[in-house]
């Protein structure tokens, strides 16, 4: 029976002999994740049910990243719920401010998600880890509560859609642009309930940071998960987790799954991306995508470079390439947020932080912050931001009368220099 990679991973964790799309299954999870806004609800339910212990202290990750460092009293008390629960149940993967990072950057960095894993997270961008050849999907707080007790989660097996990308990418074009273009093509519900499988020569050439950025936004097309078949780049990335001095306690065997040649797909789409320009999604949907050159005179007040989509070292290097020796427009607030402490440290060592500061940008500690209108850069009425985040719904970053454009780091940085949406070549 030919299966897609998604079907294979679900089958392996279900204990069943066969599997088919639209079937309901109950599967074992390798990791269950929650953060400071979703875990408190889950913990409340866990305790209301009278549960006495978690299924495994090593397979739960609780990361305070959305409104941290504690942005106000309410957030402080939410974070307390997390830290106290983690202490009570001896949760290994609880990371306090100082060790934490944005969850979807931190978990791959620490080697907590490996190829072949089945991961659920009470956060919609949990689909990020599909880049490692895992099945990974966003669920709710109640699902997290149930999983913390049973180590299992229910799923409806998704149909799979295949997206084939061919062609050598232009300078300044990367994973973020590919996914923005794709969502622009199929719409915010174009992959509703589906597994999005990203494949083709272009994908094979993407570094892991770009693969993570791509899978991160699968949910923005309504997908259940995004996935990229593991290859040498994946294996090298996994190997490098242990070489970076990251905890060897996280080391374990992983399993490589690949789609069978004659696996069934609901739809197959091909894109030739050789001529693709950097893409920008205009307000107020991630599908409102056009090439950057279509935006002629859009002034910006704020630039945000960071988030679980584009806060990794490759993104900061690209930003520094644009900003080096230049100054941002004095009217514009350019906020750079390295996604983890390790990334921040690496950026420091490489002189990137100096480049940012000298250019007149500001650098924040890892946090989701402005992405969801929390803190560290809220927009006022009528203000416009360009951000490397993943969602530009109305009012998401602040006032209902503000606007968000989504882009890759190079476009965001160039826009910070020009004071309006700009192609990176315009500031070279």
């Amino acid at each position: 029976m030919p299966y897609t990679i998604t079907e294979k991973i679900l089958l392996a964790h279900s204990g069943k002999k066969a599997i088919a799309p639209d079937e309901f299954i109950d599967a074992k999870v390798d990791l269950a994740l929650g953060n400071d806004i979703t875990a408190p609800l889950a913990i409340k339910e866990f305790e209301r049910l009278g549960a006495k212990k978690v299924f495994s202290k090593d397979k739960i990750a609780l990361i305070p990243d959305h409104f941290t460092p504690n942005k106000d009293l309410k957030s402080a008390n939410q974070c307390k719920i997390l830290s106290e629960f983690a202490a009570k149940h001896r949760i290994r993967h609880y990371y306090e401010v100082g060790q934490m990072g944005i969850e979807h950057a931190l978990l791959p960095e620490l080697g907590l998600v490996l190829p072949g894993d089945l991961v659920i997270g009470a956060d919609s961008h949990t689909c990020t880890y599909g880049a490692l050849g895992a099945f990974s999907t966003g669920v709710g707080s109640t699902d997290l509560a149930a999983a913390m007790i049973t180590g299992r989660c229910w799923f409806r097996v998704p149909k799979s859609m295949k997206f084939i990308y061919k062609g050598k990418l232009n300078k300044w074009v990367g994973g973020k642009d590919l996914i923005l273009h794709t969502i622009g093509d199929i719409g915010v519900d174009g992959a509703r309930y589906m597994a999005m499988e990203f494949t083709g020569d272009t994908i094979k050439s993407l570094c892991m940071d770009d693969r993570l950025a791509m899978c991160n936004m699968a949910i923005e097309a309504g997908a259940k998960n995004g996935v990229i078949e593991p290859d040498k780049i994946t294996e090298d990335y996994v190997k490098s987790r242990w070489l970076l001095g990251i905890s060897k306690k996280n080391k374990r065997k992983h399993k490589i799954y690949k789609s069978d040649k004659d696996a069934a797909y609901f739809d197959i789409r091909e894109y030739n991306v050789a001529k693709m320009e950097p893409q920008v999604a205009a307000p107020h949907l991630p599908s409102n995508t056009k090439p950057v050159s279509a935006f002629k005179n859009v002034s910006v007040n704020q630039v945000v470079i960071g988030s679980c989509t584009n806060g990794r070292i490759s993104d900061l290097r690209m930003t520094a390439k644009i900003l080096k020796g230049k100054k941002v427009n004095s009217r514009v607030r350019v906020i750079v947020i390295p996604a983890t402490q390790n990334i921040y440290l690496e950026a420091l060592k490489e002189g990137l932080i100096e480049t940012f500061l000298k250019a007149g940008a500001v650098v924040s500690t890892p946090t989701c912050g402005p992405c969801l209108g929390g803190h560290m850069g809220i927009l006022g009425a009528g203000e416009i931001a360009i951000a490397t985040t993943n969602r530009n719904f109305k009012g998401r970053m602040g006032d209902l009368e503000s606007e968000i454009y989504l882009s890759n780091p190079a476009v965001a940085a160039a826009s910070g220099i020009k004071g309006k949406i700009a192609h990176p070549d315009d500031v070279a």
């Binding site: 806004i37 049910l49 709710g140 707080s141 109640t142 699902d143 509703r192 259940k224 969801l372």
Partner: protein
């Protein structure tokens, strides 16, 4: 099980930031969450909604975040049921998990107007527009979902399974 109330009509792609803005996610208090329900789209919704009322929306209702606060705030506001053309997947599963009744029906979503008096029979998935007299049928839930709904949500089902 039945529901009856006035319809509150919304469009396509109502997202989770519309349903409950992120700035309110540092609370789990049902009354507080209810008071900000649908605030970005309709400042008066939370004030005007009566227990039993029904939300009727277009495509892809609840898209965006996985925040369970979204269906939770709708449920806490006293809404008895959400009818939409289609639902976003995480919102759909969250609603079933917490026992917020949801129904998928393109005809009902398009045919019902704001303010229409609606009656829903969950047993046979029938939606009756009392104001216009029209009757619609919703998509039947898969068996597994029917089990979850009958149990009153995921945790109730877990509790029941454990006491067996």
């Amino acid at each position: 099980m039945k529901a009856k109330g006035a319809a509150h009509k919304f469009g396509d792609n109502v997202n989770t930031d519309d349903i409950i803005p992120a700035k309110f996610l540092n609370t789990t208090d049902p009354r507080e969450l209810a008071s900000h329900c649908m605030e970005s789209l309709s400042a008066d919704f939370a004030k005007n909604v009566k227990p039993g009322d029904i939300i009727v929306a277009g495509k892809h209702f609840g898209c965006g975040s996985s925040r369970e606060h979204a269906p939770f705030s709708i449920k806490s506001a006293g809404v008895s049921c959400v009818i939409a053309e289609t639902f976003a997947r995480i919102f759909y599963r969250n609603s079933i998990n917490i026992g917020l009744p949801i129904l998928e029906s393109v005809d009902a979503a398009r045919g019902i107007e704001d303010g229409d008096e609606i009656e829903v029979d969950f047993k046979d998935g029938e939606i009756r527009n009392i104001t216009t007299g029209k009757v619609y049928k919703s998509q039947k839930f898969p068996e597994f979902m029917q089990k979850l709904i009958a149990a009153g949500g995921l945790l109730n089902m877990l509790k029941m399974d454990n006491t067996r």
